[in-house]
Amino acid sequence: MSLRQLNKNSDIAQFGQALYINLSAAKGLQAVLRSNLGPKGTIKMLVSGSGDIKITKDGKVLLDEMHITNPTAGMIASTASTQDRISGDGTTSTILIIGELLKQAERYLLEGVHPRIIVEAFKLCRTKAVDFLDSFKIEKEITKEFLIEVAQTSLRTKLKQEVADLLSEIVVNAVLTVKREPNKKTGVIPIDLHMIEMMLMQHKLDTETKFIDGIVLDHGPRHPKMPKRVENAYILTCNVSLEYEKTEINSKFFYSTGEEREKQVKAERSFVNARVQKIIDLKNEVCKDGKHGFVVVNQKGIDPESLELLQKAGIMGMRRAKKRNMERLTLACGGIPLNSLEDMTIEVLGEAGLVYEHILGEEKFCFIEKPKKPKACTILIKGPNKYTITQLKDAVRDGLRAVKNVFDDKCVIPGAGCFELALHRHLLEFKKSVKGKMKLGVQAFADAMLVIPKVLVENAGFDHQDVLINVLEEFEKGNKVGINLESGEAMDPQLMGVWDNYKVKRQQLNSCSIIASQLLLVDEVISAGKSEKKDKMKH
């Protein structure tokens, strides 16, 4: 082969063989993920090299943890992660659709159809499908109940129902908290999900996960005698060092008597003490009525002596707060983060109804709750062990995205396989208007769409042929239906409150057909060059 002459170490797979490699990789990946799909999907256990356990149903997490080395599979997996980046959901179905598109195409390829024709047909179908999606979408008034339904649809595919329902309400509350009303100056402000802090606590059970109106910090006041519970607190957020810092240049003191040294010690401290005093003065001024408490959250350090001063003044002081929490704190409680303690007034202070410390074994947490007009909040994730917590964390992230997507898209798609079934029928109609061999490609695309309802039904333990035929008959009657996975019968997703994100489906239709087309058009797989890793392994 000519390639061999160019590079001795290269390998080549051509034509049928190349196609076979790609097809089998796509099918393999599909086989791993298909049992994940839907609320009735099973969970996978991942054991890392160091023996850590992860338990998941989330396609994205699974793909990240699997360490895929096969190039084709890797390519498909990266499409799925793009899907996740853009819409936060639908990774599993992306993999399934790609696999299915290739599988359906394979039938015709084996009969001698040229891949180019199929790819052209896919291209046609894609535009048709996206247009159809736009006509299929439903614009609904955004109410809390509706948002909860959307969150439930997404979360139930990732967690057991009991926990999913609990979390749905939590994520909706969280998103509604951080959502800002558009004003004239700035226009519509996009929802910033970073303003929702996720705090992990290994404690009790997953059903204890809570929405916290406020911020939870994972550290507590540093002085043992500081107040542990402050009500009606003023909160000062600052980024000012409250500890002695050495000079940059090399300096030394000289003294000849003990008294002199005492003086020097005092003078050295006075610099830091003066700063602390400013905070204390402010506290004395604003807390004159005795009804308020005072809390300092500092991004930099507070040394023991300063802590002692604060403690004596009855101030709760927390040091080394995370930078991201400083931003959230001011959003939650109001106030302005300070970089210098000059000219402080009451305006720079935030307010919170309740600040308290919670000790859990050796870890301390500080809850800053009941702020006045919170624009940031915390989801406190609890679970009895690490894998439950990570599972919840991943799910909450997806749930938040699903709710946010509703605000972004302003519309939704009826779920439970309804869209895929409708699209299948729509494409079959479309096929009639297509001329020539392209018909075959359209047929393949239409059939591939059925993979989602098919697998959903399969995972729920029903016979997919029976159910699909029943449901398609309902369509004949003109009803837009989905599949009830509890009974295996047709149902109306709009009545049951099963909604998918528009964004998710749109991204899916686009990326799946593109990547499938690309893989179909590959006629040579060349691996060239030395693999450094392999050589190292040998030695």
């Binding site: 099973t42 256990m45 054991v47 699997m66 096969n70 005698k225 050495k246 003990g258 020097q264």
Partner: protein, 547 residues
Amino acid sequence: MNRQRSLARSGNIENLLKSGTKYLSSLEETIIQNIDACIDLAELLTTSLGPNGMNKMIINRLSKLIITNDSSTILKELEVVHPAATMILEAAQMQEKEIGDGTNFVIVFAGEILKQAQSLILSGIHPVEIIDGYNKAGKEALKYMDELVVKTVEDVRNEEDVASAISASIASKQFGYEDFLSSLVAKACIAICPNNEKNFIVDNIRVVKIIGGSIYDSKIIKGFVTNRTPKGSIRKIENAKVVCYTGGVEASNTETGSNVLIESAKELKNYTKGEENLMEKKIKKLAEMGINVVVSGHNISEIAAHFLEKYGILALKLPSKFEMLRVCRTVRALPLSTFVIPSEKEIGTCGSVRVELIGGTKITIFEQSKKNKSKLATIIVRAATKNVADDIERAIDDGVNSYRALCKDGRLLAGGGAFEIEMSRHIQKFGEKSPGMDQYAIKKFAEGLEVVPRNLALNAGMRATELISNLYSSHEEGKKNSGVDVVNEGICDMVKKNVFDLYQTRYWSMRLALNVAITILRVDQIIMSKRAQSGIAPPPQVSRDVD
């Protein structure tokens, strides 16, 4: 050629992944094998269930010898690597964290219901149906638990009630000494119980082990005990006024480096003198304020020690930050960061500070007088060998944790397997009523509960099967509190015998066990990465064989 093949054989899933990764997906490979591992782990612990449980001898990787029947200790030293077993283990650790007792039940019960599930799976029932059944049974069990409460401890300051409530927990670790130890623990806990008993902190009961003597020499000190001794010759002070410094008791120093600048001989002569005067002035001031104990977290300089001695002040150095905080809590002093003259508010008081010699070990005791309530109590444990002392400490820990649980919720259930049998009867009846395939699983759940009385009986050398049928018939007659009598080998009324389990302990252990069992049943595929090659030697295999 080799490469060519590697390109071509990509159909198998394992080949898509990094080399060395294992992909398990069949029922046999996943659920059944996971359950097997969990059963193995549970069987290891069943023999240490209850008062007649056997001890395990564990030699850990640091070749330290541990003899115990405390399951959380055993598990900690086992270094389990099997993923499913690790999950059960984590559930037990969570129980340890939540309640501090009842870990054994979590593992044994989870193991048992998994074993029952396995037999159902092998006879063709789908795991999902078993999960449904277990969920239903679990919900019903937690609901029915409320009705099985036999007694409620209303007053957590009543020594007798408390002692009887926690004695079962201690008896399972130190059978024979439970009466003595439970009253000891009860006394100590009540002594420091804060006004709002829900704020009881386990950490405020300290245990100091001193080898020698017998268990019955163990006693309570209402205060703090440390094995450090004071610096000077002053050994005993009554009605002490205590000041605590987290920094050193020495001449203060600047953060920036400093040098003494001496320009004449006179200055040299006067320098040390000046230092001494400065120190004397400070310490004299302390003495004038009536302070007679100084505790320092850092160095006590020679000069300071000299003057402290001169003014009759006991000086103690405690480098551990935690010990320092405990002293502060005992004497109610505010710790000061630098060596300054304290204000009246910052000075603590203590009934007596003294050095005692117990069995060749010198200890310093801060004990509060009767009128001053201490926030801290220390139990001095005496035992013949270190292993025994360690085991007693674990029993005391369990007792103290039970007290904490009691403070939160005073409800008690009948112990000795009586609660489990009654619950099992109820769930069986519940199962018969429920339609569908869940029924099998619900019944198996009920059967799983029998594991407690069965093993209590087995460990006591009784014939378990016969005993359980006797128990059932006794319960059928309406004697809801009959349980296993391990002393007289038979059946007796557990409430009369004063054998109780805490509601809280059982509640959490059932929830956690059920939770983990269901998670394990849900897993249908496992992807295992190749184990990382680490420098640590594999754990010694000894522990498994000792059983």
